[in-house]
């Protein structure tokens, strides 16, 4: 039993984006396969766990849902830290949320302060594809933005119709796992530990997260 548990990989996935673009709905669709009817703004942050098997490995993805309002970003430090990958969501029917992608990416890099600023795994998600009235943000424009911002990957989803939601999260998690391998190489002194990937990852996350917390306590 213990062995099995140790094989799990823990990943922290953070989802960011403007208010009302459907972050909570996407996560809810992915973790509980239902579309939320009772919309409610996310205040602060929430998170849920989802266990999936990807490439033969059991992954426990800790998916963080964050508040879209700018004011809450000042508290983002504690939520973004230790993330393994990040999904930036925009609403395809709301062009301003697309224009804000820059802001979100920069805010994440600033507050989350991941080690590899240039290569940190982002996934750009264009949500609400079901609202097709001809005025949606075009795929070409979104792809262009992604290309200009470090060759990010782009995917179009609809939480309502359950279009490509699973695919988007699988991609995110795969990216996070790739990053983890890089980290393994970067931290050779921890390699000697018994349960390499698992504990290592968890320790990394803990260490990064614990520091600010300890400061607050004392």
């Amino acid at each position: 039993m213990e062995k099995k548990k140790n094989k799990k990989v823990f990943l922290k996935v953070v989802i960011i984006g403007d208010s009302g673009v459907g972050k909570t709905s996407l996560i809810h669709r992915y973790t509980s396969t239902r579309f939320l009817q009772d919309f409610k703004p996310t205040i602060g942050a929430e998170f849920s766990n989802k266990e999936v098997v990807i490439n033969g490995k059991t992954v426990v993805a800790q998916i963080w849902d964050t508040a879209g309002q700018e004011r809450y970003q000042s508290l983002g430090i504690s939520f973004y830290r230790g993330a393994d990958c990040c999904g930036i969501v925009f609403d395809r029917s709301d062009h301003s949320s697309f224009e804000n992608l820059d802001t979100w990416k920069n805010a994440f890099l600033k507050h989350g302060a991941p080690k590899e600023e240039g290569t940190f795994p982002f996934l750009v998600i264009g949500n609400k594809s079901d609202l097709d009235d001809g005025s949606l943000v075009k795929e070409r424009d979104a792809q262009q933005w992604c290309a200009d911002n470090g060759n990010l990957e782009y995917i179009e989803t609809s939480a309502k119709d359950n279009t490509s939601v699973e695919e988007a999260f699988t991609k995110l998690i795969e990216k996070g796992m790739e990053r983890e391998k890089v980290n393994l190489v970067e931290l050779p002194d921890r390699m000697s530990q018994k349960n390499k990937t698992v504990n290592l990852q968890r320790d990394v996350a803990k260490d990064v997260n614990r520091k600010p917390q300890k400061k607050k306590c004392c």
Binding site: Q37, K40, P41, E46, S48, R71
Partner: protein, 545 residues
């Protein structure tokens, strides 16, 4: 235009009629006679209360007949209003016209009541067999529904027009006028808010309890007019709710599986103006709120509970009220793309009352826009979480009164501090809460530390929304009953009780779901118990060490 003049004199008559000092009925009665162009006034019963009591004796056919006349009259007057507005943009005229519209409503009601009286007198069944008529009324209740729709439609249009014109002035006028009607008792009630029949019936029912108790079920039937038979049967099963809004509120904690069905049912309930909360009405008749709201106001403004407290006599309250009516709002702050608009569409949407196009929605919008115009919000602007606080207060009163409490409460407990840039309040409260949690729920605190869950994770939502959206809205009253006088210490105690209650769900098999951590999906949570525990909570000297 002749109509209008006639009706304003009627209005005058009604006001005088009901004041205790008036003892020369003949002259006024003639005036009434002329005003209504009707011969029935000889049968008019001078006692206002009795007249309203006899409203119950209206048989359905009579009522619907008068309602049709009424509908025509309203339509006519509305057209006249539109015309006059088109030709003359002066707000004064418009105000005048709308005031007269109100008196017309009163007059038509009076007319129908009087006719009914004449009828009952003639047949000699005055107050002897009201049950029969009521039953009759019940049978054909489908015909009644349109009137409340007319009223509501009227109300909406009335409001819209007001807002477009010299909004602040005319509202202020209305608001001042309310004080003047105080002595005219129930007629004042009719003339200020004749938008809904149900409201009038409710008022009557609270005054004539003997009638209510014997015909309660009939009332219920009347309120649930629009419902199909099965729906009303279901309602009957839910038992003992003299007002349908209470039913509406009992349905908030919804089982996810039956969600759609329940929502459908809520949609089905007639929309009733007045206190959604089902609380007792305030003893101060001119105050448009329930007794709980009045209690909170008295705690906020007087620092003590006073049942007879009339905030209208309090200078600070009047100042805020004045601000509410005088200030022009910046509608741009609530356009389609604004944060406020997005959130309004996501606040208590389970309740019909808070959906777009409904009064709860427009009142929340109005309150928050006025709040944004107030100097208190200069630093913060609108921040998510305020919507829940505003809506919770509006559940118990109208926008103007709720606004005063909202501002006063923000000042009293420095709530605004939580929303200012950098959110200093959150940091302070989280710091103290973390200490308390580690002291009182040691296991959970250790678990959080192990999982590297920052303290803000579970506190922000509670602090910013003041448990709004967590505690079902009908139980929020209990929270504010204690939070308003006691402030943050009570809040901390409740958070500790809340976390203690759900800690095993959180720690179970290392599965931390947002539901467990945030519990907005935990309808089984016994909030009454948690709150009473929090009230008894004793802070030890080292609670914060």
């Amino acid at each position: 235009m002749h109509d209008i003049r006639a009706n304003s004199s009627l209005h005058k008559w009604l006001t005088k009629r009901n004041s205790p000092t008036s003892n020369s009925p003949c002259g006024e009665e003639n005036l009434f006679h002329r005003a209504m162009n009707s011969s029935i006034s000889q049968n008019f019963n001078p006692s206002g209360t009795l007249v309203i009591t006899n409203l119950l004796d209206l048989s359905c056919k009579q009522t619907s007949g008068y309602l049709k006349t009424f509908k025509k009259k309203v339509k006519k007057l509305r057209n006249a209003c539109k015309m006059s507005v088109r030709h003359n943009q002066e707000s004064n005229l418009k105000r005048l016209t709308y005031d007269n519209l109100n008196s017309l409503k009163t007059s038509v009601l009076t007319e129908s009541v009087t006719n009914s009286l004449a009828n009952t007198k003639a047949t000699g069944n005055l107050n002897t067999q009201p049950g029969i008529n009521l039953l009759h009324y019940k049978d054909e209740n489908m015909e009644i529904q349109p009137i409340s729709e007319i009223f509501e439609e009227e109300n909406k249009e009335n409001k819209e027009n007001k807002e477009h014109s010299a909004f602040s002035q005319s509202s202020l006028h209305e608001h001042r006028a309310l004080g003047g009607y105080k002595s005219s008792g129930q007629f004042a009630q009719l003339s200020q808010s004749p938008k809904n029949y149900a409201d009038i019936f409710k008022k009557v029912s609270s005054d004539d309890s003997h009638l209510v108790s014997s015909h309660k079920s009939s009332y219920d039937q009347n309120f649930s007019i629009k419902m199909s038979e099965t729906e009303s049967r279901r309602l009957e099963n839910l038992k003992d709710s003299s007002t349908t809004e209470r039913l509406q509120s009992t349905n908030i904690s919804i089982d996810p599986n039956s969600y759609d069905e329940e929502v459908k049912m809520i949609n089905f309930l007639p929309k009733i103006k007045g206190n959604q909360c089902g609380c007792k009405l305030s003893s101060v008749s001119t105050l448009k709120c329930c007794a709980s709201m009045q209690k909170w106001l008295s705690v906020c403004f007087l620092e003590e509970e006073d049942e007879a407290f009339n905030p209208r006599n309090h200078p600070e309250f009047n100042k805020l009220l004045d601000f509410f009516y005088r200030t022009k709002v910046d509608e741009k702050l609530c356009n389609q793309d604004s944060q406020l608009y997005k959130d309004l569409n996501r606040t208590f949407q389970v309740l019909h009352y808070f959906r777009e196009g409904e009064r709860g929605f427009s009142d929340t919008k109005k309150l928050l826009l006025k709040f944004l115009a107030h100097p208190i919000s200069k630093e913060s602007g609108y921040v998510q979480g305020m919507n829940f606080i505003a809506s919770t207060l509006l559940y118990h009163s109208q926008a103007d009164v709720a606004f005063c409490l909202f501002i006063k409460m923000f000042e009293k407990h420095n709530i605004i501090h939580n929303y200012e840039p950098g959110m200093p309040g959150i940091t302070d409260h989280s710091f103290l809460l973390e200490k308390m949690v580690s002291k009182h729920c040691r296991t959970l605190s250790n678990y959080f530390r192990e999982q590297a869950i920052p303290v803000q994770m579970y506190t922000i939502e509670l602090i910013c929304g003041l448990f709004g959206g967590k505690i079902p809205i009908e139980k929020m009253k209990l929270f504010y009953d204690h939070f308003i006088p006691k402030g943050w210490p009570f809040f901390y105690a409740l958070v500790v009780q809340f976390l203690e209650e759900i800690q095993f769900d959180i720690m179970e098999e290392e599965e931390l779901t947002p539901q467990a951590a945030n519990a907005h999906n935990a309808p089984n949570l016994k909030w009454n118990q948690l709150i009473s525990k929090a009230v008894d909570f004793e802070f030890s000297n080292n609670s914060f060490n």
